[in-house]
Amino acid sequence: MNAVESILTPRPEDPRRVNAIEINGLVRQFGQLVAVDGISFNVQKGEIFGFLGPNGAGKTTTINILCTLLMPTGGNATVNGYDVVRDRLQVRKSIGLVFQDPTLDDRLTAEQNLRFHAYAYGVPKAERETHINELLQLVELTDRRRSRVVTFSGGMKRRLEIARGFLHRPSILFLDEPTLGLDPQTRRHIWDYVQSLRHKEDLTIFMTTHYMDEAEFCDRIAIIDHGKIVALDTPSNLKGAVGGDVVSIQTPDQEKAILELKERFSLTPIVQNGNVTFSVPRSDTFLPDFIRGFRSGLNAISVRRPTLDDVFLKLTGHAIREQEAGAWDQVRTMMRMRH
Protein backbone atom coordinates (compact mmCIF):
# COMPACT_ATOMS: atom_id res chain seq x y z
CA MET A 1 0.00 0.00 0.00
CA ASN A 2 3.02 2.29 0.29
CA ALA A 3 3.03 2.80 -3.43
CA VAL A 4 -0.51 4.15 -3.47
CA GLU A 5 0.13 6.42 -0.52
CA SER A 6 3.14 7.95 -2.22
CA ILE A 7 1.17 8.94 -5.31
CA LEU A 8 -1.68 10.29 -3.20
CA THR A 9 0.69 13.00 -1.98
CA PRO A 10 1.18 15.56 -4.74
CA ARG A 11 4.81 16.30 -5.54
CA PRO A 12 5.93 19.83 -4.67
CA GLU A 13 6.07 22.02 -7.74
CA ASP A 14 9.21 23.73 -8.93
CA PRO A 15 9.08 27.06 -7.02
CA ARG A 16 10.92 28.95 -9.75
CA ARG A 17 8.05 28.54 -12.14
CA VAL A 18 4.94 30.70 -12.14
CA ASN A 19 1.55 29.07 -11.93
CA ALA A 20 -0.80 29.40 -14.87
CA ILE A 21 -3.71 28.01 -12.86
CA GLU A 22 -4.14 27.91 -9.10
CA ILE A 23 -7.03 26.03 -7.55
CA ASN A 24 -7.72 26.18 -3.81
CA GLY A 25 -10.39 24.06 -2.17
CA LEU A 26 -12.72 24.39 -5.15
CA VAL A 27 -16.26 23.08 -4.55
CA ARG A 28 -19.25 22.92 -6.83
CA GLN A 29 -22.57 21.50 -5.75
CA PHE A 30 -25.67 20.91 -7.84
CA GLY A 31 -28.38 20.59 -5.20
CA GLN A 32 -27.41 17.56 -3.16
CA LEU A 33 -24.80 16.37 -5.64
CA VAL A 34 -21.22 17.44 -4.97
CA ALA A 35 -19.66 17.42 -8.43
CA VAL A 36 -16.33 18.95 -7.36
CA ASP A 37 -15.40 18.26 -3.75
CA GLY A 38 -12.71 20.62 -2.50
CA ILE A 39 -9.94 20.12 -5.05
CA SER A 40 -6.63 22.00 -4.87
CA PHE A 41 -3.72 21.98 -7.30
CA ASN A 42 -1.58 24.27 -9.42
CA VAL A 43 -0.75 24.10 -13.09
CA GLN A 44 2.65 25.52 -13.99
CA LYS A 45 3.28 27.87 -16.85
CA GLY A 46 4.29 26.08 -20.03
CA GLU A 47 3.34 22.57 -18.99
CA ILE A 48 0.90 20.14 -20.54
CA PHE A 49 -1.35 19.19 -17.69
CA GLY A 50 -3.61 16.17 -18.03
CA PHE A 51 -6.87 15.98 -16.13
CA LEU A 52 -8.13 12.43 -16.09
CA GLY A 53 -11.19 10.80 -14.67
CA PRO A 54 -14.25 8.75 -15.56
CA ASN A 55 -17.41 10.44 -16.80
CA GLY A 56 -19.16 12.30 -14.05
CA ALA A 57 -15.98 12.59 -11.97
CA GLY A 58 -16.09 16.39 -12.13
CA LYS A 59 -13.76 17.13 -15.05
CA THR A 60 -16.11 19.21 -17.14
CA THR A 61 -17.53 20.98 -14.08
CA THR A 62 -13.99 22.03 -13.13
CA ILE A 63 -13.25 23.27 -16.64
CA ASN A 64 -16.53 25.19 -16.73
CA ILE A 65 -15.59 26.93 -13.49
CA LEU A 66 -12.09 27.73 -14.75
CA CYS A 67 -13.45 29.22 -17.97
CA THR A 68 -16.03 31.31 -16.01
CA LEU A 69 -19.14 29.57 -17.33
CA LEU A 70 -20.04 28.22 -13.90
CA MET A 71 -19.80 29.76 -10.42
CA PRO A 72 -18.00 27.73 -7.75
CA THR A 73 -20.00 27.14 -4.58
CA GLY A 74 -16.82 27.16 -2.50
CA GLY A 75 -13.09 27.77 -2.68
CA ASN A 76 -11.39 29.84 -5.34
CA ALA A 77 -9.33 29.60 -8.49
CA THR A 78 -7.15 31.89 -10.53
CA VAL A 79 -6.32 31.55 -14.20
CA ASN A 80 -3.33 33.49 -15.50
CA GLY A 81 -3.40 35.31 -12.16
CA TYR A 82 -7.03 36.43 -12.52
CA ASP A 83 -9.81 35.31 -10.21
CA VAL A 84 -12.44 33.25 -12.05
CA VAL A 85 -15.30 34.96 -10.20
CA ARG A 86 -14.13 38.58 -9.96
CA ASP A 87 -12.05 39.07 -13.14
CA ARG A 88 -14.11 37.05 -15.58
CA LEU A 89 -13.34 39.07 -18.69
CA GLN A 90 -9.59 39.01 -18.00
CA VAL A 91 -9.77 35.24 -17.52
CA ARG A 92 -11.64 34.85 -20.80
CA LYS A 93 -9.08 36.94 -22.66
CA SER A 94 -6.27 34.73 -21.32
CA ILE A 95 -7.70 31.38 -22.35
CA GLY A 96 -8.52 29.45 -25.49
CA LEU A 97 -11.05 26.63 -25.37
CA VAL A 98 -11.74 23.52 -27.35
CA PHE A 99 -14.85 21.92 -25.93
CA GLN A 100 -15.98 18.32 -25.93
CA ASP A 101 -18.93 19.12 -28.20
CA PRO A 102 -18.61 21.29 -31.30
CA THR A 103 -19.16 25.03 -30.82
CA LEU A 104 -18.84 26.20 -34.41
CA ASP A 105 -21.48 28.02 -36.40
CA ASP A 106 -22.27 25.40 -39.05
CA ARG A 107 -23.93 27.90 -41.31
CA LEU A 108 -20.88 30.11 -41.64
CA THR A 109 -17.72 29.28 -43.53
CA ALA A 110 -14.47 28.27 -41.85
CA GLU A 111 -12.94 31.71 -42.23
CA GLN A 112 -16.14 33.45 -41.12
CA ASN A 113 -16.04 31.42 -37.92
CA LEU A 114 -12.44 32.45 -37.35
CA ARG A 115 -13.17 36.07 -38.14
CA PHE A 116 -16.07 36.13 -35.70
CA HIS A 117 -13.70 34.85 -33.04
CA ALA A 118 -11.06 37.45 -33.91
CA TYR A 119 -13.62 40.27 -33.63
CA ALA A 120 -15.04 38.88 -30.40
CA TYR A 121 -11.60 38.77 -28.79
CA GLY A 122 -10.52 42.11 -30.23
CA VAL A 123 -7.59 40.71 -32.20
CA PRO A 124 -5.89 43.77 -33.76
CA LYS A 125 -6.68 44.26 -37.41
CA ALA A 126 -3.00 44.10 -38.43
CA GLU A 127 -2.63 40.59 -37.01
CA ARG A 128 -6.06 39.20 -37.79
CA GLU A 129 -5.72 38.00 -41.36
CA THR A 130 -2.13 36.77 -40.96
CA HIS A 131 -3.15 34.73 -37.90
CA ILE A 132 -6.12 33.30 -39.73
CA ASN A 133 -3.99 32.35 -42.74
CA GLU A 134 -1.26 30.82 -40.59
CA LEU A 135 -3.63 28.76 -38.49
CA LEU A 136 -5.67 27.52 -41.46
CA GLN A 137 -2.42 26.38 -43.00
CA LEU A 138 -1.31 24.69 -39.79
CA VAL A 139 -4.52 22.65 -39.52
CA GLU A 140 -4.52 22.05 -43.29
CA LEU A 141 -7.83 23.70 -44.02
CA THR A 142 -6.64 26.48 -46.31
CA ASP A 143 -8.32 24.99 -49.38
CA ARG A 144 -11.64 24.70 -47.51
CA ARG A 145 -11.62 28.15 -45.92
CA ARG A 146 -14.62 29.35 -47.90
CA SER A 147 -16.67 26.20 -47.37
CA ARG A 148 -19.51 26.21 -44.90
CA VAL A 149 -18.70 24.24 -41.75
CA VAL A 150 -21.81 22.10 -42.19
CA THR A 151 -19.96 20.31 -45.00
CA PHE A 152 -16.99 19.41 -42.76
CA SER A 153 -16.20 16.00 -41.25
CA GLY A 154 -15.84 15.58 -37.50
CA GLY A 155 -12.06 15.69 -37.74
CA MET A 156 -12.08 18.87 -39.85
CA LYS A 157 -14.39 20.60 -37.38
CA ARG A 158 -12.08 19.66 -34.54
CA ARG A 159 -9.06 21.03 -36.39
CA LEU A 160 -10.90 24.25 -37.09
CA GLU A 161 -11.84 24.54 -33.41
CA ILE A 162 -8.25 24.05 -32.34
CA ALA A 163 -7.15 26.75 -34.80
CA ARG A 164 -9.86 29.03 -33.44
CA GLY A 165 -8.96 28.33 -29.82
CA PHE A 166 -5.49 29.58 -30.55
CA LEU A 167 -6.42 32.54 -32.75
CA HIS A 168 -6.26 35.23 -30.06
CA ARG A 169 -2.91 33.86 -28.79
CA PRO A 170 -4.14 32.75 -25.38
CA SER A 171 -1.57 31.89 -22.74
CA ILE A 172 -3.59 28.87 -21.58
CA LEU A 173 -5.36 26.44 -23.89
CA PHE A 174 -8.11 24.21 -22.47
CA LEU A 175 -8.74 21.05 -24.43
CA ASP A 176 -11.74 19.09 -23.18
CA GLU A 177 -11.57 15.66 -24.84
CA PRO A 178 -10.11 17.14 -28.02
CA THR A 179 -10.00 13.82 -29.85
CA LEU A 180 -13.12 12.04 -28.57
CA GLY A 181 -14.79 9.99 -31.26
CA LEU A 182 -12.13 10.61 -33.90
CA ASP A 183 -10.24 7.93 -35.79
CA PRO A 184 -6.64 7.16 -34.69
CA GLN A 185 -5.07 8.92 -37.65
CA THR A 186 -6.95 12.16 -37.03
CA ARG A 187 -6.21 11.88 -33.33
CA ARG A 188 -2.47 11.73 -34.03
CA HIS A 189 -2.74 14.68 -36.41
CA ILE A 190 -4.56 16.79 -33.88
CA TRP A 191 -1.98 15.95 -31.31
CA ASP A 192 0.75 17.06 -33.74
CA TYR A 193 -0.99 20.43 -34.20
CA VAL A 194 -1.23 20.92 -30.47
CA GLN A 195 2.44 20.08 -30.02
CA SER A 196 3.54 22.45 -32.78
CA LEU A 197 1.44 25.26 -31.30
CA ARG A 198 2.94 24.61 -27.93
CA HIS A 199 6.50 24.83 -29.17
CA LYS A 200 5.85 28.14 -30.91
CA GLU A 201 4.91 30.02 -27.77
CA ASP A 202 5.08 29.51 -24.05
CA LEU A 203 1.67 27.92 -24.04
CA THR A 204 0.15 26.11 -21.09
CA ILE A 205 -2.18 23.28 -22.01
CA PHE A 206 -4.83 21.95 -19.67
CA MET A 207 -6.46 18.89 -21.17
CA THR A 208 -8.83 16.08 -20.38
CA THR A 209 -8.76 12.84 -22.29
CA HIS A 210 -9.96 9.29 -22.15
CA TYR A 211 -7.07 8.03 -24.21
CA MET A 212 -4.21 6.88 -22.04
CA ASP A 213 -1.70 7.02 -24.89
CA GLU A 214 -2.45 10.75 -25.16
CA ALA A 215 -2.13 11.18 -21.42
CA GLU A 216 1.44 9.91 -21.77
CA PHE A 217 2.32 13.18 -23.55
CA CYS A 218 1.41 15.20 -20.47
CA ASP A 219 4.09 16.63 -18.22
CA ARG A 220 1.89 15.97 -15.20
CA ILE A 221 -1.42 14.28 -14.64
CA ALA A 222 -4.12 14.77 -12.05
CA ILE A 223 -6.62 11.96 -11.61
CA ILE A 224 -10.05 12.98 -10.36
CA ASP A 225 -12.69 10.57 -9.09
CA HIS A 226 -15.97 11.40 -7.36
CA GLY A 227 -15.00 15.06 -7.33
CA LYS A 228 -11.70 14.54 -5.52
CA ILE A 229 -8.10 14.49 -6.73
CA VAL A 230 -6.79 10.97 -6.07
CA ALA A 231 -3.33 11.40 -7.60
CA LEU A 232 -1.12 14.06 -9.14
CA ASP A 233 2.30 13.36 -10.61
CA THR A 234 4.25 12.78 -13.81
CA PRO A 235 3.11 9.81 -15.92
CA SER A 236 6.30 7.86 -15.21
CA ASN A 237 6.08 8.42 -11.45
CA LEU A 238 2.44 7.38 -11.48
CA LYS A 239 3.29 4.19 -13.33
CA GLY A 240 6.28 3.56 -11.09
CA ALA A 241 4.02 3.75 -8.08
CA VAL A 242 1.91 0.88 -9.36
CA GLY A 243 4.79 -1.53 -8.89
CA GLY A 244 7.37 -3.20 -11.11
CA ASP A 245 5.50 -5.46 -13.52
CA VAL A 246 1.84 -6.18 -14.11
CA VAL A 247 0.96 -9.89 -14.25
CA SER A 248 -2.36 -11.09 -15.65
CA ILE A 249 -3.52 -14.68 -15.31
CA GLN A 250 -6.44 -16.63 -16.69
CA THR A 251 -7.63 -19.18 -14.25
CA PRO A 252 -10.51 -21.71 -14.05
CA ASP A 253 -11.71 -20.39 -10.68
CA GLN A 254 -11.22 -16.67 -10.23
CA GLU A 255 -12.49 -16.42 -6.66
CA LYS A 256 -10.29 -19.20 -5.47
CA ALA A 257 -7.32 -17.74 -7.31
CA ILE A 258 -7.85 -14.29 -5.80
CA LEU A 259 -8.07 -15.79 -2.33
CA GLU A 260 -4.89 -17.75 -2.85
CA LEU A 261 -3.01 -14.72 -4.24
CA LYS A 262 -4.02 -12.69 -1.21
CA GLU A 263 -3.29 -15.29 1.43
CA ARG A 264 -0.29 -17.19 0.13
CA PHE A 265 1.47 -14.50 -1.91
CA SER A 266 0.33 -11.37 0.01
CA LEU A 267 -0.67 -9.65 -3.24
CA THR A 268 -3.59 -7.29 -4.04
CA PRO A 269 -5.21 -8.81 -7.13
CA ILE A 270 -8.03 -7.19 -9.10
CA VAL A 271 -10.18 -8.38 -11.97
CA GLN A 272 -9.52 -6.54 -15.23
CA ASN A 273 -11.05 -7.55 -18.58
CA GLY A 274 -11.87 -11.00 -17.20
CA ASN A 275 -8.31 -11.60 -16.05
CA VAL A 276 -6.94 -11.57 -12.54
CA THR A 277 -4.28 -8.88 -12.47
CA PHE A 278 -1.70 -7.97 -9.86
CA SER A 279 1.66 -6.25 -9.73
CA VAL A 280 4.98 -7.57 -8.48
CA PRO A 281 8.32 -5.77 -8.05
CA ARG A 282 10.24 -8.16 -10.33
CA SER A 283 8.48 -10.67 -12.53
CA ASP A 284 11.71 -12.51 -13.62
CA THR A 285 12.36 -13.82 -10.11
CA PHE A 286 8.72 -14.08 -9.09
CA LEU A 287 7.26 -16.07 -11.97
CA PRO A 288 9.17 -19.40 -11.86
CA ASP A 289 8.20 -20.08 -8.22
CA PHE A 290 4.71 -18.76 -8.78
CA ILE A 291 3.99 -21.00 -11.77
CA ARG A 292 5.32 -24.05 -9.94
CA GLY A 293 3.49 -23.33 -6.69
CA PHE A 294 0.12 -21.87 -7.74
CA ARG A 295 -2.65 -24.32 -6.73
CA SER A 296 -5.74 -22.69 -8.26
CA GLY A 297 -4.68 -23.58 -11.79
CA LEU A 298 -3.42 -21.45 -14.69
CA ASN A 299 -4.79 -21.33 -18.25
CA ALA A 300 -2.64 -18.43 -19.41
CA ILE A 301 -0.26 -15.88 -17.99
CA SER A 302 1.10 -12.60 -19.33
CA VAL A 303 3.47 -9.95 -18.05
CA ARG A 304 3.78 -6.30 -19.06
CA ARG A 305 5.06 -2.94 -17.91
CA PRO A 306 2.40 -0.92 -16.08
CA THR A 307 0.36 1.59 -18.10
CA LEU A 308 -1.68 4.56 -17.00
CA ASP A 309 -4.69 2.27 -17.25
CA ASP A 310 -3.22 0.27 -14.38
CA VAL A 311 -2.66 3.44 -12.39
CA PHE A 312 -6.22 4.45 -13.01
CA LEU A 313 -7.59 1.06 -12.09
CA LYS A 314 -5.58 0.90 -8.92
CA LEU A 315 -6.63 4.37 -7.77
CA THR A 316 -10.27 4.42 -8.72
CA GLY A 317 -11.14 0.74 -8.75
CA HIS A 318 -12.47 0.89 -12.30
CA ALA A 319 -10.95 1.01 -15.75
CA ILE A 320 -11.24 4.26 -17.67
CA ARG A 321 -11.95 2.44 -20.92
CA GLU A 322 -15.07 0.79 -19.58
CA GLN A 323 -16.42 4.29 -19.13
CA GLU A 324 -15.19 5.40 -22.49
CA ALA A 325 -17.26 2.96 -24.46
CA GLY A 326 -20.34 3.94 -22.48
CA ALA A 327 -23.63 4.46 -24.21
CA TRP A 328 -23.52 8.20 -23.71
CA ASP A 329 -20.29 8.59 -25.63
CA GLN A 330 -21.66 6.56 -28.48
CA VAL A 331 -24.69 8.82 -28.63
CA ARG A 332 -22.43 11.83 -28.52
CA THR A 333 -20.22 10.52 -31.28
CA MET A 334 -23.26 9.96 -33.42
CA MET A 335 -24.55 13.44 -32.66
CA ARG A 336 -21.20 14.86 -33.64
CA MET A 337 -21.25 13.01 -36.92
CA ARG A 338 -24.73 14.31 -37.58
CA HIS A 339 -23.75 17.90 -36.97
Partner: protein, 277 residues
Protein backbone atom coordinates in the same frame (compact mmCIF):
# COMPACT_ATOMS: atom_id res chain seq x y z
CA UNK B 1 -14.75 47.16 -19.10
CA UNK B 2 -14.39 50.02 -21.49
CA UNK B 3 -17.17 51.38 -23.67
CA UNK B 4 -15.25 50.15 -26.73
CA UNK B 5 -15.50 46.58 -25.48
CA UNK B 6 -19.28 46.88 -25.15
CA UNK B 7 -19.63 48.30 -28.64
CA UNK B 8 -17.41 45.54 -30.01
CA UNK B 9 -19.75 43.01 -28.40
CA UNK B 10 -22.84 44.58 -29.92
CA UNK B 11 -21.19 44.79 -33.32
CA UNK B 12 -19.80 41.27 -33.46
CA UNK B 13 -23.07 39.62 -32.42
CA UNK B 14 -25.10 41.70 -34.88
CA UNK B 15 -22.50 41.12 -37.61
CA UNK B 16 -22.75 37.37 -37.28
CA UNK B 17 -26.58 37.44 -37.42
CA UNK B 18 -26.47 39.50 -40.60
CA UNK B 19 -23.80 37.28 -42.11
CA UNK B 20 -25.86 34.20 -41.38
CA UNK B 21 -29.01 35.80 -42.75
CA UNK B 22 -27.36 36.78 -46.03
CA UNK B 23 -26.01 33.25 -46.39
CA UNK B 24 -29.46 31.75 -46.12
CA UNK B 25 -31.91 32.77 -48.84
CA UNK B 26 -34.47 30.22 -47.65
CA UNK B 27 -35.07 32.17 -44.47
CA UNK B 28 -35.51 35.35 -46.47
CA UNK B 29 -38.25 33.80 -48.58
CA UNK B 30 -39.99 31.96 -45.74
CA UNK B 31 -40.20 35.10 -43.64
CA UNK B 32 -42.44 36.68 -46.28
CA UNK B 33 -44.61 33.64 -46.78
CA UNK B 34 -46.96 33.98 -43.81
CA UNK B 35 -47.75 37.71 -44.09
CA UNK B 36 -48.38 37.37 -47.81
CA UNK B 37 -50.63 34.36 -47.30
CA UNK B 38 -52.64 36.28 -44.71
CA UNK B 39 -52.86 39.29 -46.96
CA UNK B 40 -54.01 37.35 -50.00
CA UNK B 41 -56.40 34.91 -48.35
CA UNK B 42 -57.93 37.19 -45.73
CA UNK B 43 -57.94 40.07 -48.18
CA UNK B 44 -59.63 38.13 -50.95
CA UNK B 45 -61.94 36.35 -48.54
CA UNK B 46 -63.21 39.31 -46.57
CA UNK B 47 -62.80 42.29 -48.86
CA UNK B 48 -66.16 41.93 -50.62
CA UNK B 49 -68.03 40.56 -47.61
CA UNK B 50 -67.03 43.30 -45.19
CA UNK B 51 -67.09 46.36 -47.40
CA UNK B 52 -65.31 49.65 -46.69
CA UNK B 53 -64.54 50.37 -43.03
CA UNK B 54 -64.49 54.07 -43.77
CA UNK B 55 -64.78 56.08 -46.92
CA UNK B 56 -62.09 54.85 -49.30
CA UNK B 57 -60.68 52.31 -46.86
CA UNK B 58 -61.69 48.80 -47.78
CA UNK B 59 -60.75 45.75 -45.68
CA UNK B 60 -57.49 44.95 -47.45
CA UNK B 61 -56.27 48.54 -47.09
CA UNK B 62 -57.20 48.36 -43.42
CA UNK B 63 -55.37 45.10 -42.93
CA UNK B 64 -52.22 45.90 -44.94
CA UNK B 65 -50.57 48.19 -42.33
CA UNK B 66 -51.33 45.51 -39.74
CA UNK B 67 -49.58 42.92 -41.89
CA UNK B 68 -46.52 45.20 -42.13
CA UNK B 69 -46.48 45.36 -38.32
CA UNK B 70 -46.98 41.59 -38.14
CA UNK B 71 -43.96 41.02 -40.39
CA UNK B 72 -41.88 43.01 -37.93
CA UNK B 73 -43.34 41.12 -34.95
CA UNK B 74 -42.71 37.66 -36.36
CA UNK B 75 -39.24 38.35 -37.64
CA UNK B 76 -38.20 40.07 -34.41
CA UNK B 77 -38.86 36.89 -32.47
CA UNK B 78 -36.01 35.34 -34.46
CA UNK B 79 -33.67 36.81 -31.82
CA UNK B 80 -34.92 34.16 -29.46
CA UNK B 81 -34.99 31.40 -32.06
CA UNK B 82 -31.35 32.04 -32.87
CA UNK B 83 -30.26 31.98 -29.21
CA UNK B 84 -32.03 28.68 -28.59
CA UNK B 85 -30.60 27.30 -31.82
CA UNK B 86 -27.08 28.33 -30.78
CA UNK B 87 -27.56 26.73 -27.39
CA UNK B 88 -28.68 23.46 -28.98
CA UNK B 89 -25.87 23.38 -31.52
CA UNK B 90 -23.14 24.60 -29.18
CA UNK B 91 -22.22 27.95 -30.69
CA UNK B 92 -23.64 29.79 -27.67
CA UNK B 93 -20.69 28.53 -25.59
CA UNK B 94 -18.26 30.15 -28.03
CA UNK B 95 -20.16 33.40 -27.47
CA UNK B 96 -20.42 33.05 -23.69
CA UNK B 97 -16.71 32.37 -23.09
CA UNK B 98 -15.64 35.28 -25.31
CA UNK B 99 -14.60 38.41 -23.42
CA UNK B 100 -17.94 40.13 -24.10
CA UNK B 101 -20.38 41.37 -21.47
CA UNK B 102 -23.75 39.65 -21.31
CA UNK B 103 -25.44 43.01 -21.83
CA UNK B 104 -23.56 43.64 -25.06
CA UNK B 105 -24.55 40.18 -26.32
CA UNK B 106 -28.23 40.96 -25.67
CA UNK B 107 -27.99 44.34 -27.38
CA UNK B 108 -26.10 42.83 -30.30
CA UNK B 109 -28.83 40.25 -30.74
CA UNK B 110 -31.53 42.92 -30.59
CA UNK B 111 -29.73 45.23 -33.03
CA UNK B 112 -29.00 42.44 -35.52
CA UNK B 113 -32.56 41.13 -35.38
CA UNK B 114 -34.07 44.61 -35.66
CA UNK B 115 -32.00 45.47 -38.74
CA UNK B 116 -33.08 42.25 -40.46
CA UNK B 117 -36.74 42.53 -39.57
CA UNK B 118 -37.01 46.22 -40.53
CA UNK B 119 -35.46 45.30 -43.86
CA UNK B 120 -38.03 42.57 -44.35
CA UNK B 121 -40.92 44.86 -43.45
CA UNK B 122 -39.69 47.53 -45.85
CA UNK B 123 -39.51 44.91 -48.61
CA UNK B 124 -43.20 44.18 -47.89
CA UNK B 125 -43.94 47.75 -48.98
CA UNK B 126 -43.51 46.71 -52.63
CA UNK B 127 -46.96 45.15 -52.35
CA UNK B 128 -48.57 48.52 -51.62
CA UNK B 129 -49.30 49.57 -55.22
CA UNK B 130 -51.00 46.23 -55.93
CA UNK B 131 -53.61 46.78 -53.25
CA UNK B 132 -54.11 50.45 -53.92
CA UNK B 133 -52.23 51.83 -50.94
CA UNK B 134 -50.41 55.10 -51.60
CA UNK B 135 -46.82 55.35 -50.41
CA UNK B 136 -45.17 58.69 -49.73
CA UNK B 137 -41.65 59.52 -48.61
CA UNK B 138 -43.06 61.01 -45.42
CA UNK B 139 -44.93 57.79 -44.72
CA UNK B 140 -41.76 55.71 -44.98
CA UNK B 141 -39.78 58.18 -42.87
CA UNK B 142 -42.41 58.00 -40.13
CA UNK B 143 -42.90 54.27 -40.46
CA UNK B 144 -39.29 53.13 -40.07
CA UNK B 145 -38.68 54.59 -36.57
CA UNK B 146 -41.96 53.10 -35.35
CA UNK B 147 -41.03 49.69 -36.74
CA UNK B 148 -37.60 49.96 -35.10
CA UNK B 149 -39.20 50.56 -31.71
CA UNK B 150 -41.62 47.64 -32.17
CA UNK B 151 -38.79 45.40 -33.34
CA UNK B 152 -36.48 46.27 -30.44
CA UNK B 153 -39.28 45.51 -27.95
CA UNK B 154 -40.15 42.16 -29.51
CA UNK B 155 -36.51 41.15 -30.04
CA UNK B 156 -35.92 41.82 -26.36
CA UNK B 157 -38.95 39.65 -25.58
CA UNK B 158 -37.44 36.90 -27.76
CA UNK B 159 -34.14 37.06 -25.86
CA UNK B 160 -35.98 37.08 -22.53
CA UNK B 161 -37.93 33.92 -23.40
CA UNK B 162 -34.85 32.24 -24.93
CA UNK B 163 -32.62 32.94 -21.94
CA UNK B 164 -34.33 30.13 -20.05
CA UNK B 165 -35.24 27.83 -22.96
CA UNK B 166 -33.20 24.74 -23.74
CA UNK B 167 -34.92 23.49 -26.89
CA UNK B 168 -36.49 24.75 -30.09
CA UNK B 169 -39.69 22.92 -29.25
CA UNK B 170 -39.98 24.66 -25.89
CA UNK B 171 -39.45 28.03 -27.51
CA UNK B 172 -42.01 27.33 -30.23
CA UNK B 173 -44.58 26.36 -27.61
CA UNK B 174 -44.07 29.57 -25.67
CA UNK B 175 -44.30 31.55 -28.89
CA UNK B 176 -47.55 29.81 -29.81
CA UNK B 177 -49.06 30.35 -26.38
CA UNK B 178 -47.91 33.94 -25.96
CA UNK B 179 -47.52 35.42 -29.41
CA UNK B 180 -50.46 33.93 -31.28
CA UNK B 181 -53.14 35.42 -28.98
CA UNK B 182 -51.25 38.72 -28.76
CA UNK B 183 -51.05 38.90 -32.55
CA UNK B 184 -54.71 38.15 -33.11
CA UNK B 185 -55.75 40.56 -30.35
CA UNK B 186 -53.66 43.42 -31.67
CA UNK B 187 -56.08 44.88 -34.16
CA UNK B 188 -54.26 43.56 -37.22
CA UNK B 189 -57.38 41.83 -38.55
CA UNK B 190 -60.23 43.86 -37.08
CA UNK B 191 -60.75 47.27 -35.45
CA UNK B 192 -60.78 46.85 -31.69
CA UNK B 193 -63.41 49.46 -30.87
CA UNK B 194 -66.66 47.91 -32.09
CA UNK B 195 -66.18 44.46 -30.59
CA UNK B 196 -67.63 42.75 -27.50
CA UNK B 197 -66.42 44.33 -24.27
CA UNK B 198 -64.25 41.36 -23.19
CA UNK B 199 -62.45 41.37 -26.52
CA UNK B 200 -61.99 45.12 -26.37
CA UNK B 201 -60.45 44.90 -22.90
CA UNK B 202 -58.08 42.10 -23.93
CA UNK B 203 -57.02 43.99 -27.04
CA UNK B 204 -56.44 47.24 -25.21
CA UNK B 205 -54.26 45.74 -22.51
CA UNK B 206 -52.21 44.14 -25.27
CA UNK B 207 -49.27 46.47 -25.95
CA UNK B 208 -48.96 45.23 -29.53
CA UNK B 209 -52.29 46.89 -30.28
CA UNK B 210 -50.63 50.30 -29.93
CA UNK B 211 -47.78 49.36 -32.22
CA UNK B 212 -50.22 48.22 -34.87
CA UNK B 213 -52.34 51.36 -34.36
CA UNK B 214 -49.31 53.63 -34.82
CA UNK B 215 -48.36 51.90 -38.08
CA UNK B 216 -51.95 52.04 -39.34
CA UNK B 217 -52.39 55.72 -38.54
CA UNK B 218 -49.19 56.57 -40.40
CA UNK B 219 -50.52 54.69 -43.45
CA UNK B 220 -54.03 56.14 -43.35
CA UNK B 221 -52.73 59.69 -42.99
CA UNK B 222 -50.96 59.30 -46.33
CA UNK B 223 -53.96 58.03 -48.28
CA UNK B 224 -55.63 60.13 -50.94
CA UNK B 225 -59.20 59.60 -49.87
CA UNK B 226 -61.98 60.34 -52.32
CA UNK B 227 -63.98 63.57 -51.98
CA UNK B 228 -60.95 65.09 -50.25
CA UNK B 229 -61.82 63.60 -46.90
CA UNK B 230 -58.83 63.34 -44.56
CA UNK B 231 -58.55 60.07 -42.69
CA UNK B 232 -58.91 61.68 -39.30
CA UNK B 233 -62.39 63.03 -39.76
CA UNK B 234 -64.64 62.18 -36.83
CA UNK B 235 -66.06 58.77 -37.37
CA UNK B 236 -63.24 57.27 -39.37
CA UNK B 237 -60.64 56.94 -36.58
CA UNK B 238 -63.37 55.98 -34.16
CA UNK B 239 -64.09 52.93 -36.21
CA UNK B 240 -60.50 52.07 -37.13
CA UNK B 241 -58.12 53.64 -34.62
CA UNK B 242 -57.76 52.78 -30.95
CA UNK B 243 -59.47 54.79 -28.27
CA UNK B 244 -58.61 54.51 -24.61
CA UNK B 245 -61.19 55.89 -22.17
CA UNK B 246 -62.69 57.90 -25.00
CA UNK B 247 -59.40 59.45 -26.14
CA UNK B 248 -58.15 58.77 -29.66
CA UNK B 249 -54.60 57.50 -29.37
CA UNK B 250 -52.11 59.59 -31.33
CA UNK B 251 -49.13 58.08 -33.17
CA UNK B 252 -46.85 59.56 -30.53
CA UNK B 253 -48.82 58.14 -27.61
CA UNK B 254 -48.96 54.71 -29.28
CA UNK B 255 -45.22 54.78 -29.93
CA UNK B 256 -44.39 55.82 -26.37
CA UNK B 257 -46.35 52.86 -24.99
CA UNK B 258 -44.39 50.44 -27.18
CA UNK B 259 -41.11 52.20 -26.34
CA UNK B 260 -41.83 51.93 -22.60
CA UNK B 261 -42.58 48.25 -23.00
CA UNK B 262 -39.37 47.86 -25.01
CA UNK B 263 -37.24 49.39 -22.25
CA UNK B 264 -38.79 47.12 -19.61
CA UNK B 265 -38.26 44.04 -21.81
CA UNK B 266 -34.66 45.00 -22.58
CA UNK B 267 -33.83 45.36 -18.90
CA UNK B 268 -35.48 42.03 -18.13
CA UNK B 269 -33.69 40.36 -21.04
CA UNK B 270 -30.27 41.60 -19.86
CA UNK B 271 -30.98 40.48 -16.29
CA UNK B 272 -32.23 37.04 -17.38
CA UNK B 273 -29.40 36.50 -19.83
CA UNK B 274 -26.73 37.59 -17.33
CA UNK B 275 -27.82 35.09 -14.71
CA UNK B 276 -25.09 32.53 -14.12
CA UNK B 277 -25.41 29.09 -12.64
Amino acid sequence: MRIGDHLRGVWVIAYRDLLQFVGEPVRLISSFAMPIVFLIIFGAGFNNVIGPLAQGVDYIKFMYPGIIAMTTLNNSLMSGVSIVWDREFGFLREVLVAPLSRGSIVFGKVVGTAVISIGQSVVMLVLAPFIGVDLTVLLVLKLVPILIIISVAISALGVLIASRMKSQQGFQIVVMVVMMPLTFLSGIFFPVNNVPAWLEVLSKVNPLTYGVDAVRQVFLAAQQLPAGLPANIPGAPASMGVTVFGHNMTVLADTLIVAGLGIILLVLAVVAFSHRD
